[in-house]
């Protein structure tokens, strides 16, 4: 009987079949060390793997290419034992040399603009990575670093394929999108077999993949994965409904269109939970002078409003989050007050100051701060009598909901008597304003988050390049920014998860109270997937197909 049962259980998963997904633009590169854009990452995550990975549900760090590790009592010396059965696509076995090469020759190479160098540099010092034997690697940290194991999820690249490019000093341009597909060598469950720019990417099964199912079956099950390159979300939806795509990520406003079709078109909508991608409003608080013109980046009058906490609090009370969720997401969304998403799990705290939509309260706060309305009641003036007028930038296209959200927020700000010029610009123009030209007043934009709060350091540390409201400070401008710097330094070196949580909870409370960025709403992560696949376990942390090797076609 037991034997029969096992056979049945096995019969459920089958080999063969393909999966067709959409990706919104071409990858910029297949070189995972230099890639920075999300679309390239979607592609390379099938090809490359790291020593560790995250469990998509418990969000704990679990073994991947390293089967186990030991750590010295002081938390500084780590020894990783690599799996001995991992082979690159070309049949060569993975060895400690590849790991050492990836860290020492690629990531810490000053000639290579590596996107992960910052995360793996602790207090300005690199990790020391050494080979002990063919399948053992020792990593020595300069100081204790709590997110270390998570950072070890960094993709490992093959030394035997890339050594020549490195020696010729061409590594930064290797494995670009013009590389013949069979030359892209990784250890992942799928390997690239065709790439037609602007059209599609095709992956085939890696027959040497090391992972086995619980019943000792060779993984992966699927033969082929196809990514169609479809820029427009509307076109993705139509193609999904026509059956050309097997899966599509959907937003709250798509839900009422697709949900009634579930049974007749044979698909299912998975609601994975609150997304990481925060949408927020940020006010420019940069007091510095433009070195070229010797004039301030921001007008002194505007600076005095934006650095005024009461002004920011009034703004926070003027955001109609409930209606924004109804209008843009058909009720499928969450209002956000603190810097982390509930999707982040353990480190998220709901216990932060919240701001309900209340224009009366907003007016009251402004009044107490010395702002007053002009006699006709139409114009808000600051204590010195300057009318409150500023530009509000937002990006068009790609970030569909944000433009509409900005319109709603603007309307309420005008009800407070502010004159707000809503300006829609290209996304890249907006990024340029935030990162280099600093000529902006208020911006609506979003940042993606994750499980580990420390990886948001480039945003929250006062010296960070993404510290949007006042970037790259030499010393913290305010006491609370100083405290956040301390929290991030302490948090990185505290190895006790519970103590770390206390620190990061404090950080979330500070941000919600001091409002350097004013949060709006979080979307729900949802995926519509055709019913023909088995083993589907969508999660926020990894999407619909994070366990792609286990997914089979029924």
């Amino acid at each position: 009987m037991i034997g029969l049962f096992l056979v049945q259980a096995q019969a459920a998963s089958r080999y063969g079949g393909s999966l067709v997904e959409a990706v919104s633009s071409d990858p910029k590169t297949f070189n995972d060390i230099v890639s920075t854009d999300a679309n390239s990452r979607v592609i390379t995550s099938l090809l490359f793997e790291g020593l560790t990975t995250e469990d998509p549900f418990t969000l704990k760090v679990i073994p991947n290419l390293a089967k186990s590790w030991d750590v010295s009592p002081d938390g500084l010396r780590w020894v990783f034992h690599l799996r001995t059965d991992v082979r690159w696509f070309d049949g060569v076995f993975l060895s400690a040399d590849d790991v050492v090469f990836t860290f020492n020759d690629l990531i810490y190479n000053p000639d290579i603009p590596s996107s992960c160098k910052d995360v793996l540099t602790i207090e300005g010092k690199p990790l020391t990575v050494e080979k002990i034997d063919d399948h053992t690697v020792r990593v020595i940290l300069p100081v204790k670093f709590a997110p270390f194991l998570r950072a070890m999820g960094q993709s490992i690249l093959p030394k035997h394929c890339l050594m020549k490019a490195l020696r010729d000093k061409k590594f930064s341009f290797t494995w670009g999108i013009d590389t013949p597909v069979e030359q892209i060598i990784g250890t992942g469950p799928f390997q690239l077999s065709e790439y037609h720019p602007g059209e599609r990417l095709v992956f085939k099964r890696n027959p040497h993949y090391w992972k086995k199912s619980k019943t000792q079956e060779q993984l992966p099950y699927l033969d082929k994965i196809v990514f169609l390159i479809i820029q427009d979300h509307q076109a993705q939806l139509l193609k999904f409904m026509d059956g050309e795509l097997d899966a599509v990520g959907i937003s709250g406003s798509d839900y009422p269109l697709l949900k009634p079709l579930e049974a007749s078109r044979q698909f299912h909508i998975f609601e994975a939970g609150a997304a990481y991608d925060a949408n927020f409003v940020v006010l420019n608080q940069n007091p510095r002078l433009n070195p070229k013109t010797h004039r301030p980046f921001l007008d002194a009058v505007k600076l005095s409003w934006f650095t005024n906490l009461s002004f920011r609090k009034a703004l926070a009370h003027a955001i109609d989050k409930k209606k924004i969720i109804e209008i843009l997401n058909n009720g499928l969304g969450l209002s956000q007050d603190g810097p982390m998403s509930p999707g982040s799990g353990f480190f998220y705290t709901p216990d932060v100051m919240t701001y309900d939509y209340d224009l009366k309260k907003a007016k009251e706060i402004l009044k107490q701060a010395g702002f007053h309305l002009s006699p006709d009641g139409g114009t808000l003036k600051d204590p010195q009598g300057h009318p409150v007028e500023f530009n509000f930038y937002t990006a068009n296209a790609a970030s569909a909901g944000r433009e509409a959200m900005s319109g709603i927020i603007r309307f309420d700000l005008e009800r407070l008597g502010m004159k707000v010029n809503l300006v829609t610009v290209e996304f890249n123009t907006l990024v340029n304003k935030l990162m280099s030209s600093y000529d902006w007043d208020m911006v609506m934009i979003g940042l993606t988050g994750g499980v580990e709060p420390h990886f948001g350091q480039n945003v929250w540390a006062s010296s960070g390049g993404l510290h949007l409201w006042n970037p790259r400070q030499k010393t913290p401008a305010t006491l609370w920014e100083k405290r956040i710097d301390e929290i991030f330094n302490e948090g990185a070196q505290e190895l006790d998860e519970n103590k770390r949580k206390i620190l990061y909870d404090e950080f979330q409370r500070i941000v919600a109270e001091k409002l350097p960025v004013i949060y709006t709403v979080l979307n729900m992560d949802m995926y519509a997937v055709r019913d023909k696949f088995g083993n589907l376990k969508p999660s926020v942390n990894g999407g619909a197909f994070h366990n792609i090797e286990e997914i089979y076609k029924k």
Binding site: Y255, P256, L257, K259, K323, E326, N330, L332, V425
Partner: protein, 343 residues
């Protein structure tokens, strides 16, 4: 051009039934634009988020079997299990229509709202927004055409009259403008406009952009006509009397081209309306909350709103009507002024 020819042309135009209908329709559309403040129940920016995508309000005349003054019911927004918007009609209280109150033709008391043609995402009345949008969409065509007409006439007239190197330079400039695909030239010009312009400045810049693109083709045609007209005896006569060049161009040559240019003018108004709509639809023209028929349509670029709130396509119908009317009238004018066509 003498009076009898003009009256003949008008007579012929009036006999064109189709053109007369279009003239009336256009009159109606311009009426909407001019009297938008009176006709529309709300201001274009008046929003009520409790009525996101509210379908058209039905006006009730019957209370049971009894006929009563028209009234409406209040509606409440809820979401069903599929997260679709469902508006529940609350019949507990009637909200009578008020006529000619507060400077508006029809109104109802809050919290009820009157949506003759449904609401947009933020609960703004589409009918009101179409009326106010007509102001932008219909005026942009006329003003834009007027500007490019003046440029076209002058430059075309000069090129044709003087000939030689002046003609050569002016015509090459024209060709440069005509060479670049119109819509892309428009996008490029729009990108050069400072991004923090307010709505009036954006409006003016859109008009100027449209005019800058449109004058070249008109100038080329006027130049061709002037080339033949300048050889006429009466031009020679004017020259011998010592009339200045500009005087000859404006007084004796350009009036002869009016018949043709009037027809072209009408036809190009429609292309200007379309160009504005295109620009605003991709989010680069008139900016929300100020409505134009083009930016009203931008919402209809997504599948979901069109399926659940099909009334947001209505601005497209208005663009279609206006464009067709201008085309038919332009054709009719050309026929009317064409002497070969007259009996």
């Amino acid at each position: 051009m003498n009076n009898s020819r003009i009256s003949l042309a008008f007579k012929s135009f009036r006999q064109n039934r189709m053109a007369m209908i279009c003239l009336w329709v256009l009159g109606l559309l311009y009426g909407l634009a001019i009297f938008a403040d009176l006709i529309s129940p709300y201001s274009y920016a008046d929003e009520d988020r409790n009525f996101s995508y509210c379908p058209p309000t039905s006006i009730e005349f019957f209370d049971g079997p009894k006929i009563v003054p028209p009234f409406v019911y209040q509606k409440h927004l809820t979401f069903d299990a599929m997260h679709r918007r469902v508006f529940v009609v609350d019949r507990s209280q009637k909200y009578p229509l008020h006529f000619l109150r507060g400077g508006r033709l029809i109104q109802v008391d809050a919290p009820a709202r009157l949506y003759l043609w449904g609401a947009d995402a933020r609960g703004r009345d589409l009918f009101s927004r179409i009326c106010y949008g007509a102001r932008i969409s219909l005026s942009i065509g006329l003003i834009g055409v007027a500007i490019s007409f003046i440029f076209g006439l002058l430059i075309g007239g000069m090129a044709g009259f003087y000939g030689g190197w002046i003609d050569g330079i002016l015509m090459r400039v024209c060709e440069m403008f005509m060479m670049v695909p119109g819509f892309y030239l428009m996008l490029a010009l729009r990108a050069a406009v400072p991004e923090n312009f307010n709505s009036v400045q954006v409006y003016i810049s859109v008009v100027l952009i449209l005019a800058l693109i449109g004058w070249a083709s008109l100038a080329r045609i006027i130049r061709g006509m002037t080339l033949s007209l300048r050889e006429r005896d009466y031009v020679l006569a004017a020259k011998t009397f010592g009339v200045s060049d500009l005087g000859i161009i404006c007084k004796h040559i350009l009036p002869q081209t009016v018949s043709y240019s009037l027809a072209t003018l009408m036809l190009s108004v429609s292309s200007y309306i379309l160009a504005e709509a295109g620009l605003s639809m991709v989010g680069l023209g008139i900016q929300d909350p100020v409505p134009s028929w083009g930016n009203l349509l931008s919402n209809a670029m997504e599948i979901v709103p069109v399926i659940f709130a099909p009334w947001i396509l209505l601005p497209g119908l208005f663009i279609f009507m206006a464009v067709m009317c201008f085309n038919v009238i332009g054709d009719a004018l050309r026929d009317a002024f064409d002497p070969m066509f007259q009996d």
